[in-house]
């Protein structure tokens, strides 16, 4: 148990405050004063604030490591945000920021990757030809997002986390629909927002459930430390549910929280918004929809790991949904032709991996994969953005090809990213994915063998579609139009430097959390430094012990599957380019299903959107609102009063002051008479 009070560290507030200040400066100059500030100043403020936040985060990390393992907890309690009482108990939600190993890793990722992407954005948005006026607006939203994400991560309690949770949702909406003049982009933004709201509803329900349970046992609190302390009291409670009957409260709450996580992290069935979110600018896709915001769900599950360790039903559900999402998204990714869509489905799939690990009880593995994924997926997105810039906003890989020699830096770094995500031994993705597969193999979740199989299959598919993407984009003949071909060139330095930095980390990030099994092989004791670092704050799910030999076997299997995927991709898209189409023709039904993404959007449209629209339009609007409330209640009252006044009451209002005095006196006398009766 970590010391709940923690070490006071007043500098923590500046980590979220600096981006907030930057966002406020942008907001005030842009929104209130209507005097946009110059581009260099915008760059300096935005990037400067995030880089400063990153430096402070590093400082906090150093502070944290300086403490002994059990007491790594820094607290900055600003003020009491909500002070109240519940039935004789004091309840307060503090505006407090906490850095413990888990949030320390997260803020480093958020501010580190975030500052790289801010720098990248300078080049990307500079070169963007579409709407120059949005330059500062873009950075305002980006800063606001950084603030919200840090708020989410650093929040000491569920309410503050929820504040950040909603904040990142808002910023995501703003940035997806950044080029709002295109209706499709605005639609995508709304879609993301609405789907997220469904998840948020679940999150809220979870908060309510936990809070009411804690009130029931007499310790109302919403801080994570407080919940963890009182958790043993509510672990045994149960809840009567309609249809299901008695259910354990922790399971229900866990599922509610997971619904929120599924919304934010794009899991089945709420994943549909993420592919469409690619309508936003590419840096946004990299930062929000790959590296940080979408991992908030994973972070939340890990943050509540003490709850999920007790909630076996909820954990199993998470594991299965994660596994299925991973496979499902990977299959869709096989046939997508939009470079960003492929990466989006890959993100959904990788998030599925993380939930698979979390559901299996390997929370450390989930965070590990979260970290490595943040690096290589940000790298891939930024690389795709670089490609898109080079191709003058052409995103279809069918119109690319042969770019390797034209934009070599992008191509090489992209290749590093592909290798990392495909699970090439020695790169970051290999270690984290391997740990997830091993833990799913070792877990006690019902049907864990199938889960392992699904994970393994997904690994192969991942390898296949990523190499497909690489081959189609960078190799072969260039399929772009002739005049476009002449203009293809490498983007500027502010785009390339983040790529190189991220490529470096994509290669090396895996060694932060080198699983012990590989550490033993290499002769490094305590090699899983990330896992050991996170250990005290994460619960440990029950896993079977695996022999080293078994783990090597599993690794070999994973490598084999990845090689298989690579080989297939090489064959279909590099060696024998015509073969892929013949495959597609041979299996028309499968190909149609996959290209249409299993018709999930259409299904949702039919089952949910249309009935809802029908209900709101025909019933709620036309009958209830316009018919009943407007016509009868509002206008009816007015009409009645007007009719009464026009035909009777107005004669009382004769303009003679003293007739009014008369009525007043009569009223007063009546009151006096009543009182004296």
């Amino acid at each position: 148990m970590v010391n709940e009070a923690g070490l006071p560290a007043v500098y923590l507030r500046w980590i979220p405050l600096l981006p907030l200040c930057a966002a406020l400066i942008h907001g005030i100059t842009l929104g209130l004063l209507r005097r946009p500030i110059s581009k260099p100043l915008t760059n300096a403020i935005s990037c400067g604030s995030v880089i400063a936040a990153f430096l402070i985060s590093c400082f906090a990390m150093a502070d944290l490591i300086g403490e002994p393992a059990g007491q790594r907890r820094l607290v900055d309690d600003l003020y009491t945000w909500i002070g109240s009482g519940v039935g004789g108990q004091i309840f307060s939600a503090e505006m407090a920021l906490v850095v413990d190993p888990l949030s320390a890793v997260m803020i480093l990722i958020v501010t580190g990757v975030g500052s790289l992407i801010h720098v990248y954005s300078i080049g990307y948005m500079e070169a963007d030809h579409r709407d120059d006026k949005g330059y500062q607006r873009f950075f305002a939203c980006l800063n606001l997002f950084t603030f919200s994400m840090l708020c989410l991560v650093l929040g000491e309690n569920l309410v503050l986390m929820f504040l950040g949770w909603e904040g990142v949702g808002l910023c995501s909406y703003l940035l997806i629909g950044f080029w709002y003049s295109d209706r499709w982009n605005a639609y995508c933004g709304s879609k993301a927002f609405i789907v997220n709201r469904i998840g948020d509803f679940g999150f809220l329900l979870g908060i309510f459930l936990i809070f009411s349970a804690l009130v029931q046992v007499g310790s109302p609190t919403l801080s994570f430390a407080g919940i963890e302390r009182s958790f043993h009291q509510i672990a045994g409670l149960s809840l009567a549910l309609p249809l299901v009957g008695e259910a354990r409260l922790v399971n229900v709450a866990g599922i509610c929280f997971f619904l929120g996580a599924a919304g934010k992290s794009a899991q089945l069935p709420l994943y549909v918004w993420l592919p469409d979110a690619m309508a936003g600018p590419t840096p946004v896709s990299a930062l929000i929809h790959a590296a940080t915001m979408v991992t908030a769900g994973v972070y939340m599950v890990c943050r509540l790991s003490f709850l999920y360790a007790e909630a076996e039903v909820a954990s199993a559900l998470i594991a299965w949904i994660g596994g299925l999402t991973a496979l499902f998204a990977a299959t869709i990714g096989l046939v997508q032709t939009d470079i960003k869509k492929v990466l989006a489905y890959s993100t959904v799939s990788q998030l599925g991996y993380m939930f698979l690990a979390a559901g299996c009880g390997a929370y450390g593995a989930a965070i590990f994969h979260l970290g490595t994924h943040a690096f290589f997926k940000a790298l891939l997105f930024l690389g795709s953005g670089s490609v898109i810039l080079a191709m003058h906003h052409e995103q279809d890989i069918e119109k690319m090809g042969g770019l390797f020699s034209r934009i070599p830096v992008t191509a090489w770094t992209f290749l590093v990213g592909v290798l990392a995500i495909a699970g090439t031994p020695g790169l970051s993705g290999f270690f984290s994915k391997d740990e997830i597969l091993a833990s799913s193999f070792a877990s006690q979740v019902p049907g864990h063998a199938y889960l392992y199989a699904i994970g393994l299959a997904t690994a192969g598919l991942t390898s296949f579609y990523m190499f497909r993407l690489f081959f189609r984009t960078f190799t072969g003949e260039c399929r772009a139009s002739a005049e476009l071909q002449k203009q293809i060139h490498e983007p500027g330095r502010s785009v390339l430097v983040p790529l190189l930095v991220l490529a470096f980390f994509s290669v090396t990030a895996g060694y932060m959390g080198l699983p012990q099994v590989w550490g033993d092989l290499l002769g490094i004791p305590e090699s899983n430094s990330l896992g050991n670092f996170l250990g005290p704050v994460l619960a440990q799910g029950e896993l079977h012990h695996l022999e080293h030999a078994t783990e090597y076997l599993l690794a070999v299997a994973a490598i084999a599957v990845a090689l298989l995927g690579f080989g297939l991709a090489y064959l279909l898209y590099f060696a024998r380019p015509g073969l892929a189409d013949r495959f597609a023709d041979a299996l028309p039904a499968a190909h149609r299903t996959l290209s249409n993404k299993y018709w999930v959007d259409e299904l949702y449209d039919l089952l949910i959107v249309r009935p809802t629209v029908f209900l709101s339009d025909r019933v709620c609007y036309r009958i209830l609102d316009a018919g009943l409330i407007d016509a009868v209640a509002v206008n009816g009252t007015a009409h009645t009063v007007r009719a009464l006044a026009a035909h009777g009451l107005r004669h009382l209002h004769g303009g003679l002051t003293q007739s009014y005095v008369f009525f007043m006196i009569a009223g007063a006398v009546a009151i006096v008479g009543y009182l004296l009766r």
Binding site: R650, H651, G654, G655, L656, T657, Q658, V661, I665
Partner: protein
């Protein structure tokens, strides 16, 4: 000792006189003065009742007199605004007869 029911009775009498003034006189200024009279009558009642329950040495009760102070202040404000209205009314109508200002009707 002054019997308090006489004080309250005097207050009631003055109040009624003021009420009659407001109800019957047409001169706006006299109406305003009658309102002042009514306010004074109420003040008298307040002071009288405060005299009836004056509290103790350790905790004197002065709510009634507080009310009087507030009423005096409010009366001053009321007169300032009321006479301002009277002046602008006289300026527009050349009269201070309430019956003359009857445009606001129906």
């Amino acid at each position: 000792m002054i019997p308090l029911d006489h004080v309250i009775g005097l207050s009631a009498v003055l109040f009624s006189i003021g009420l009659i003034g407001v109800a019957t006189r047409r001169n706006v200024i006299v109406m305003l003065m009658s309102i002042e009279l009514m306010l004074n009558a109420v003040n008298l009642a307040f002071v009288g009742f405060n005299r009836m329950w004056p509290g103790s040495d350790s905790a004197p009760a002065l709510s009634g007199q507080m009310f009087v102070l507030m009423v005096i202040t409010v009366a001053a404000a009321e007169v300032a605004v009321g006479l301002g209205i009277v002046i602008s009314m006289f300026r527009n109508r050349d009269s201070v007869d309430v019956d003359e200002v009857s445009l606001l009707k129906w």
